[in-house]
């Protein structure tokens, strides 16, 4: 087995590709650094000079608004120059290979590549081919990982619940296709959460998901019972094709989060969602906008977490 490709010879974070395999201390370092940036984003002058003179290339091979924007804001608040490339519309459609695209951008002196790609593992391929001073941050690859989302979820949970070692966390819905779920599960198990649950129909749970260290529930109420944290996953419309689900209505009936279903969780439970939400499909508006919801603070924390990640990798 090769060395974990995201760590340098000193065990420091060279790239952020996946939460899996990162030691607890490193995760805590990122969360603590993010904590220090929360203050920055609330100041009148929202900039620190940590990445002044550095170039951050946002390489999005798959459309995204929210993640790309938060990365852009995070990089700008660190005083970096940000270049947004919507690859889906340019070179890839002209047949240029992934590595050629990266090599060309590298020739334009990039420091950090923020990469989103629809194929699992693409950022690993890029990380293997960039120059030693360049850093790759995975902004979501296929079904595999979305580590900055996972980290901002961890940050949010820590913010509201302080201690991971007593928590019961339920992740609900389309785990099969979710990179968010995989990243969060690895983060929670690394930080010592004693019970992580996944809830969904068999068609939306990947083979052998228990091996990630989770308990499987097919019934929403039993799965939500006494939970401290409920994470709802986005359900894409295309799941209705390919015989995974009969309809959005039926999914909502079984797995949509309503105040009634949420009542079996702990009274002070928090509800999270990586966005964008499908109201009335996986979550009812009364929950999304209700007192348990921390969905908007997640977005705010996401900027601080991405600032932390970029400043840490750039410093190594």
């Amino acid at each position: 087995m090769q060395r974990n490709p995201q760590l340098n010879a000193n065990g420091e974070l060279q790239h952020l590709l996946s939460i899996e395999g990162l030691p607890r201390e490193l995760l805590l370092q990122i969360l603590d650094t993010a904590e220090s940036f929360v203050g920055v984003t609330e100041r009148e002058v929202k900039k620190v000079p940590l990445l002044r003179g550095k170039s951050v290339f946002n390489l999005f091979f798959e459309p995204s608004t929210r993640t790309r924007t938060t990365f852009e804001i995070a990089a700008k608040r660190l005083s970096a120059d940000v270049i947004n490339l919507n690859i889906a519309l340019s070179s890839q459609s002209k047949g240029e290979s992934l590595l050629d695209t990266v090599a060309n951008l590298s020739a334009m002196h990039a420091d950090i590549f923020v990469v989103r790609h629809n194929s699992s593992g693409a950022p690993f391929l890029i990380a293997r081919h960039v120059k030693p001073h360049e850093h790759v941050v995975n902004a979501g690859d296929g079904r595999h990982a979305h580590p900055t989302q996972g980290l901002l979820d961890l940050f949010t949970i820590r913010h509201y619940k302080k201690d991971f070692t007593r928590l019961t966390v339920a992740i609900v819905g389309d785990v099969l296709h979710s990179r968010v779920a995989r990243s969060l599960i690895h983060g929670l198990t690394t930080l010592g959460a004693p019970e992580v649950r996944v809830i969904g129909p068999q068609t939306l749970l990947p083979a052998g998901v228990e091996s990630l260290g989770v308990r499987v529930f097919h019934d929403m109420r039993s799965g939500l019972k006494d939970c401290d944290v409920v994470v709802m996953l986005r359900l894409q419309n295309e799941r209705m094709r390919g015989a995974l689900l009969p309809s959005a209505q039926e999914f909502f009936k079984n797995y949509g989060l309503t105040l009634d279903k949420l009542s079996v969780a702990k009274p002070e439970a928090i509800v999270m969602h990586p966005g964008p939400m499908n109201r009335g499909v996986e979550i009812d508006s009364s929950v999304a906008d209700g007192p348990h919801s921390v969905i908007l603070p997640q977005v705010t924390f996401g900027i601080a977490v991405r600032m932390a990640v970029m400043s840490i990798v750039a410093g190594n």
């Binding site: 790609h117 391929l125 296929g142 083979a207």
Partner: protein, 420 residues
């Protein structure tokens, strides 16, 4: 031409011979003793002398894939790996579905005068799974069997008809058992590793269900079917039962699959992107055991040269396949040593056993057999680095491995075609 191979450890799996001695070839055939003097003598002291290896699946990439490999490069790879006969699957571009193409391939191969090439004809036109090919004419042109290669045949009625037709003339049919709809979209074994890496999975029952269908059609048609590249423990058990029942079936395994499992994908190593996918360790162990027991008849390299561009892609998009001709011997030796088999049994799986399936007289050292011999040093180290490979394909999960077993001489029809 008289050739004398002198003083080696002579192993002939077909006869059970395993003793230090001499091997003689005259006029391209094995003989008991030479009449007259040897024109060439090979000093084989300290080396193993055995029948040349027979590989049931080696892609030469001609026609249509010359940027990945050429007949020259791959025939060099074959003989440097001790492979003296190979069957090539029909998934070229265009596929081997008409006699002219087969004829041209055989002429080109013959002109190179290295390994013997046995083309496997397409079972259906363009491998589309709709219409039958001209099997009799293709057989006349030199096809030894008919196959869909890895291209799925989704229509069971076409499969049924194809087996009926092939059975009529006694043509063997070689099938890769994978249910097309269950495998659709998948790129890795549907298990813990695929779940962790977020790769779409192919469940093991994509193979076992396909085998069940094929076996039912064999019962109905009595067609002679060879199942290519088993990958699951369940598949091995189905073949075991079918053989016990007396059905005319045989099977092989790709040599990668007796050594590797999905764990070897590591961090998305596209060299491990293979068809069928590398499966669980339990499956791998069952394949290795099945091969030792003979339920799995033989091992093959499933040689598939892929160029760098085809592998420098995210795992799911990478072109499947691995180079293998030059690693067939060392990897078979490694398997045999782990299974604690006598060398003669180990070597049977790449000599006499595949010869039986191919229906050829080679694969043994008996007088009268074709003069195809491999002479190798079982202990010599082979470090697998791209520069060490003659094949144009440098793609293998074994890059960086240190293996044992190096071919020193390869003889085809009494001619020394490789010396290393």
């Amino acid at each position: 031409m008289n050739l004398h191979i002198k003083g080696g450890r002579v192993i002939d799996p077909a006869s059970g011979r395993d003793a230090v001695g001499d091997v003689f070839i005259s006029d391209g055939k094995m003989v008991e003793a030479l009449k007259g003097n040897a024109e060439k003598t090979i000093d084989a002291r300290g080396l193993v002398v055995c029948p040349g290896f027979i590989d049931l699946a080696a892609r030469l990439r001609e026609p249509g894939g010359e940027y990945k490999a050429t007949l020259e490069s791959e025939m060099d790879a074959a003989v440097s790996g001790g492979v003296t006969s190979l069957a090539c699957p029909p998934d070229t571009d265009p596929p081997l579905d008409e006699p002219g193409l087969v004829d041209m391939l055989r002429r080109r191969a013959k002109a190179l005068a290295r390994a013997r090439v046995y083309p496997v004809g397409a079972l259906t036109l363009k491998l589309k799974g709709e219409n039958l090919t001209e099997m009799s004419l293709l057989a006349e042109a030199g096809c030894v069997a008919f196959s869909q290669a890895n291209v799925p045949l989704a229509d069971n009625q076409v499969l049924w008809r194809a087996l009926q037709y092939a059975a009529t003339f006694g043509f063997p049919v070689w099938l890769h058992a994978e249910d097309a709809s269950l495998a659709r979209g998948g790129v890795a074994h549907d298990g813990e590793v695929a779940t962790r890496l977020g790769l779409p999975g192919i469940p093991p029952f994509a193979e076992t269900i396909a085998i069940c269908v094929i076996l039912e059609l064999v019962r109905a048609t009595r067609a002679r079917v060879h199942l290519c590249r088993l990958s699951t423990a369940g598949g091995v058990e189905l073949v075991r039962a079918a053989k016990r029942e007396g059905l005319p079936v045989s099977c092989d395994v790709g040599i990668h699959h007796v050594h590797l499992s999905d764990m070897d994908l590591g961090y998305f190593d596209s060299n491990c992107r293979l068809v069928p996918p590398l499966r669980s360790q339990r499956d791998r162990d069952a394949l290795a055991r099945g091969l030792a027991e003979g339920v799995v008849d033989c091992a093959c390299s499933d040689h598939t040269p892929v160029d760098e561009d085809g592998k420098h892609l995210p795992f799911a998009e990478a072109e499947p396949g691995a180079t293998g001709l030059e690693l067939l011997l060392p990897l078979t030796l490694k398997w045999g040593a782990a299974a604690k088999l006598p060398l003669a049994v180990t070597l049977a799986r790449i000599t006499s056993d595949p010869a039986r399936i191919l229906g050829v007289a080679s694969g043994r050292l008996a007088p009268g057999a074709p003069g195809d011999v491999a002479v190798f040093d079982p202990a010599a180290a082979l470090r697998v680095v791209p520069e060490a490979l003659n094949s144009q394909g440098k793609n293998t999960p074994f890059i960086g491995y240190e293996l044992a077993g190096r071919v020193r001489y390869t003889v085809v029809a009494g001619n020394v075609v490789y010396e290393g």
